[in-house]
């Protein structure tokens, strides 16, 4: 036993170091985000233009939407590594339908395709009682194969103007995609924190057995989180495919890990049971600011990965021990 530990010796009443520490651990990702924002504003005139800021939001809308839904999956104790593939299938389906049937129908169908694929994920995971980590790696291979079969390996380009509205359109100065982002954030936050279903998501991830004995249909909640993740991937795919006016099976490759990384970077617990939608958005934006900074400043791209890695370590160090692990 020791009395030399300074953090423990300080009284807890006032604004103690311990309280600041706790606050930092809780909101470390926000602190870092703000710090980076300020630094970039000082470092570059171009950064703080509304155009640039809207660009950042616009560019990251697909990832953010996937990460928000992924937050629910992870809080419920799962993992979705098939979002990139679902995004791909949704994209190529949208493009295919747009070319062969109708552009607007194409955009409308992408979320439904995502929803269907996500639901299949959920049913396989709960039906076979397998861990979603492996199950979604498997399904991502299957879905990826599907996307290739749909396109025959070729790119499907959609020259239609109407098709581009979602990805490139604007309402006044604001991109349509940014509006979708804001709506998605409101919806996911509401689901998670305002509804019974959201509460169940936390309970299932926190203690599946206790949740089940409390009358929660654990399987349904899990299926729902995966379905939402699929839906989000589909919406993200629709936005992206509309933006680049072409669908290709590879489109979403790598997105799945980026999304999971952003969620966890935000501070949502990898063990489930704890987390928040805003955290994931903050995680996405933190990564986005680094990218944008490198593009806006004269930074040598050779150092980008290194910098990104170090910023993550910093974020992580700030919130160290938040969960005691």
């Amino acid at each position: 036993m020791t009395t030399s530990d300074p953090t423990l010796a300080i009284g807890s009443g006032g604004l103690s170091l311990e309280r600041i520490g706790r606050w930092l651990r809780q909101y470390g990702v926000l602190v870092l985000l703000v710090a980076l924002f300020v630094a970039l504003s000082i470092g570059s005139d171009a950064f703080l233009s509304s155009r640039n800021l809207l660009n950042i939001l616009n560019q990251n809308t697909p990832l953010a939407i996937i990460a928000m839904a992924g937050t629910l999956v992870i809080i419920a104790g799962g993992f979705d590594l098939s979002t990139g593939a679902m995004f791909g299938v949704a994209s190529v389906t949208a493009a295919w339908v747009a070319v062969n049937i109708d552009p607007v129908l194409g955009l409308a169908i992408a979320p439904l395709v995502g929803l269907a694929l996500g639901t299949v994920n959920g049913l396989v995971i709960t039906g076979l009682k397998v861990h979603s980590f492996l199950a979604t790696i498997a399904s991502s291979l299957v879905y990826g194969g599907l996307a290739i079969l749909i396109t025959g390996g070729f790119l499907i380009s959609v020259p239609d103007e109407a098709f581009a509205a979602l990805g490139r359109g604007r309402v006044g100065p604001i991109n349509v995609a940014v509006i979708v982002l804001v709506i998605a954030m409101a919806v996911f936050t509401y689901i998670l924190n305002g509804t019974t279903v959201g509460r169940y998501v936390y309970a299932v991830g926190g203690n599946e057995e206790a949740a089940s004995l409390s009358g929660i249909r654990v399987g349904r909640i899990k299926v729902m989180t995966f379905a939402l993740s699929g839906l989000a991937s589909g919406v993200a795919g629709a936005i992206a495919v509309s933006r680049i006016a072409s669908g290709q099976p590879q489109a979403g490759a790598g997105l799945e890990l980026e999304a999971v990384a952003a969620v966890i970077l935000g501070g949502t617990s990898i063990y489930g049971g704890e987390g928040a939608v805003w955290r994931s958005v903050a995680g996405v934006m933190l990564l986005a600011l680094i990218q944008n900074g490198f593009n806006i400043l004269n930074a040598n791209p050779f150092y980008k990965d290194l910098t990104t890695g170090l910023v993550i370590v910093l974020a992580v160090a700030l919130s160290a021990g938040r969960k005691g692990k």
């Binding site: 036993m1 530990d5 305002g194 509804t195 203690n207 206790a210 089940s212 004995l213 617990s269 049971g273």
Partner: protein, 539 residues
């Protein structure tokens, strides 16, 4: 108890050369706490504690739920660091003090909340950190050591079973074996008997006595005050993180302990049993329920009735409860609540029908530790706090606040982080969770595990209140006295079947036990013989 051969006093049955680094074997540790304080956020868990624990004694800690007993034990075991104050070991201030260094000094802890490696076998858990090895390579001999240990202790667990497949009580035995196997000079035992039957508890007490005879020291935390008075040498009474007094148990009585703990005398007898009106309607009806080891159970409980299940360990009381609740799949049978058949496919439909169950393992099955008090308490009834799927928090808060008051949960914070609550207060929250809204059928599986005497009384009263409001109550407890004193009728459970019914107003606990043994066809376990599910009755 004939098989408990007391080993030669200086040679512990488990000690081997590697486990006893020094010649200290058999010499107990003397621990002193000087002005020790420990604060968690707003809670002063330990407030300027001074206690001396002498070598070769059994030193009990008693106190209300949340008084700081476990925290004190954890400070001694190196699991918590005190904020200030000093820990003296054999009169010398300790240096670096964490769990491994405490173990290096052969101070072992049995925590209140079990802490085992679920996928590992019993023996591997028991010898974890002290495997027979040479230069880091595992060598044989673990089985022999286990068998020697088991022969001395007599719990009769299969060494190869993964502990996650064990009942809670058996897991607690593994914890006990682990502490004993360490050949410790001091063992902190934090409510080691809370899941054990009387027979098993007695076995543990015998072992404690033997360890003391070898000069070892035991810190014993328990809410069973009779046991404390019977087995401990000295007792420290704690309240609100402070020491009320430390005294020889010979100088204390149950009443003096209670008064010290709670700051006032408290009625210790059971509240009066209630009996349903003769015309009270049948609420719960079970016919031919089978599944797992449970076979063909018929059960009827009327409105306002408390029906107890009495049975030996593993007789299947818990299994009956889980089947009723839809937690385990039934192979056949019908359950009716107020005459309507309940879909047994899952707890959700049972809950919809007004049938609720408080499970026996609060951490594993009862509570969601990542959620706060409010979220836990309202979980099964969340829909009642929601309109069109939207949760109304103010209603939740109101209901939670009144539950906290009713059961005196401390800290009394609606959004308190449950994972940091003391064991007894978690148990109270669990009770609150299942009685937040009046149920039609209330199944209680070990509802008072780990709660203090005052809180027990409060739970009894709450339970009876549910009954007098018209609920049907099914009570399971390894404290047979609880079952006997509170129930209107008691069913005897043997091997998953209901074999008889007794009237608790005319039959006492000993008589029930006799009947249970009489109907037990074979001894369930060759090592232990039949085990008794009651506490306090024989003590």
């Amino acid at each position: 108890m004939g098989r408990l051969i007391v080993a030669p006093s200086t040679v512990h049955p488990m000690s081997n050369s590697s486990a006893s680094p020094s010649g200290e074997a058999g010499r107990g540790a003397r621990i002193g706490l000087r002005s020790v304080s420990k604060r968690f956020g707003a809670t002063q868990a330990l407030d300027d504690i001074d206690v001396d624990i002498d070598a070769g004694t059994i030193h009990a800690l008693v106190g209300e739920n949340g008084a700081g007993k476990s925290t004190l034990g954890k400070v001694v075991g190196g699991i918590h660091h005190a904020d200030s104050g000093q820990l003296l070991l054999d009169g010398q201030p300790v240096g670096r003090w964490d769990a491994p260094s405490a173990l290096d000094h052969r101070i072992a802890t049995i925590q209140q909340e079990l802490s085992l490696v679920p996928a590992m076998s019993v023996e591997r858990n028991v010898f974890l950190g002290m495997e027979p090895s040479r230069a880091g390579a595992l060598v044989g001999g673990m089985r022999e050591r286990y068998e020697a240990l088991d022969a001395a202790v007599g719990f009769g667990l299969d060494p190869r079973t993964p502990v996650r497949d064990l009942r809670l009580a058996d897991q607690q035995k593994v914890e006990i074996l682990r502490a004993i196997a360490r050949d410790a000079r001091l063992v902190v035992m934090d409510e080691p008997t809370s899941s054990l039957t009387q027979d098993e508890a007695d076995r543990l007490h015998e072992i404690m006595a033997r360890l003391r005879a070898e000069g070892r020291t035991i810190i014993y935390v328990s809410h069973f005050l009779d046991e404390v008075l019977r087995w401990a040498d000295r007792v420290t009474i704690m309240r609100d993180g402070r020491v009320v007094r430390t005294a020889d148990t010979a100088e204390e009585t149950k009443d003096s302990l209670v008064e010290g703990m709670l700051g006032q005398p408290v009625e210790l007898s059971f509240p009066p049993r209630i009996s349903p009106a003769p015309e009270a309607p049948v609420v719960l009806e079970v016919e031919g329920l089978s599944g797992g080891i449970v076979e063909d159970v018929d059960l009827t409980i009327r409105s306002g009735e408390v029906v107890g299940l009495a049975g030996l360990v593993g007789s299947g009381r818990t299994e009956i409860a889980r089947l009723l609740f839809g937690a385990d799949p039934a192979t056949s049978g019908v359950v009716r609540v107020d005459g309507t058949a309940v879909d047994l496919h899952g707890p959700w439909s049972a809950i919809d029908a007004g049938l609720v169950m408080l499970p026996e393992d609060r951490r594993g099955q009862g509570l969601v530790m990542t959620q706060n008090v409010r979220e836990n308490i309202t979980l099964p009834r969340l829909r009642h706090f929601a309109r069109r799927g939207r949760v109304r928090r103010s209603d939740e808060r109101k209901a939670t606040r009144s539950a906290i008051e009713r059961l005196d949960i401390t800290p009394a914070r609606v959004n308190g982080e449950l994972q940091h609550y003391s064991g007894g207060n978690q148990q109270k929250a669990l009770f609150a969770k299942w009685t937040l809204r009046p149920p039609r059928v209330l199944i209680l599986d070990e509802p008072t595990r780990g709660v203090d005497v005052g809180a027990k009384r409060r739970i009894y009263e709450a339970l009876l209140e549910e009954a007098s409001n018209g609920a049907a109550v099914l009570l399971i407890s390894s404290e047979l006295e609880e079952v006997v004193e509170l129930s209107t009728r008691v069913h005897l459970v043997v091997d998953g079947r209901i074999t008889g019914e007794v009237d608790p107003t005319t039959t006492d606990a000993d008589e029930i036990l006799k009947q249970l043994f009489g109907t037990t066809p074979v001894a369930p376990d060759p090592h232990t013989g039949p085990t008794l599910p009651t506490k306090a009755s024989s003590a």
